[in-house]
């Protein structure tokens, strides 16, 4: 089966610019996750969707980050405006359902904010 797809793979922007990331989960997976992984740290959950509803967005900086999952399939994560500390790898993952299921990760998008 095809894995989780993400684009772009790399992005370099200047601070205060906007950026958007796209994720296509594995077909049939109800749950979709966005993680932020800063260099030297483990992935940190930003937002979790169950179909097209938000399950948890407690760690999403809502003043600048937004995410949507229209039609319960693809998802986009947006940062507006970007700050230097947003430089990180943004990982998308999906799982069949929620609790206890294996998460399948995409290759990630490496964002550099200058």
């Amino acid at each position: 089966e095809a894995g989780v797809a993400q684009s772009p793979r790399y992005k370099i922007i200047e601070k205060r610019q906007s950026v958007a990331f796209w994720c296509n989960p594995i077909s049939g997976h109800a749950t979709l996750y966005w993680y932020q992984q800063i260099l030297g740290q483990g992935p940190k959950l930003l937002i979790q969707f169950q179909n097209n509803g938000v399950v948890d967005d407690s760690q999403l900086p809502k003043d600048r980050f937004s995410a949507e999952r229209l039609k319960g399939v693809d998802s986009t994560l947006k940062i507006q405006p970007a700050k230097l500390e947003d430089s990180a790898v943004y990982l998308c993952a999906s799982s069949l359902n929620v609790a206890g299921d294996e998460q399948y990760f995409g290759p990630g998008t490496r964002l550099t904010v200058t």
């Binding site: 030297g40 992935p43 959950l45 929620v98 609790a99 998460q103």
Partner: protein, 109 residues
């Protein structure tokens, strides 16, 4: 909030030696603890989960509820085990995963 500690950022062992990667967490209401692994130039992937009690690639993980630890062990390390390993206990009502900071394992020839 769940806190996860992986005390070793870097760990090197020789091929054939035993290896133990430590993980301590603050609380768990569930036996569904996970270890994820990222090999060089590959995606993050599930290595094993406690609830299945299986051995994957020779690795096992012992859950010690008293010590709130979930250490990953392998009796004889292989060079292909070199990778970054993340402990991930769940928390929250939806059992979201909290990842540790990871341990980079290098198995020397």
């Amino acid at each position: 909030a769940q806190r996860v500690t992986q005390p070793e950022k870097l760990l090197s062992v020789f091929k054939g030696a035993p290896v133990e990667l430590k993980c301590n967490y603050s609380y768990s209401g569930s036996p569904e603890l996970f270890w994820y692994v990222q090999y060089s130039r590959q995606r993050l992937q599930l290595l094993l989960r406690h609830i299945s009690r299986e051995s994957i690639k020779g690795f096992t993980a012992d859950l010690n509820k008293g010590e709130t630890s979930f250490h990953l062990k392998k009796p004889f390390a292989q060079e292909e085990d070199s990778a970054m390993y993340y402990c991930a206990p769940p928390s929250g009502s939806a059992r979201q995963l909290t990842f540790g900071s990871g341990t980079q394992l290098t198995v020397l020839p």
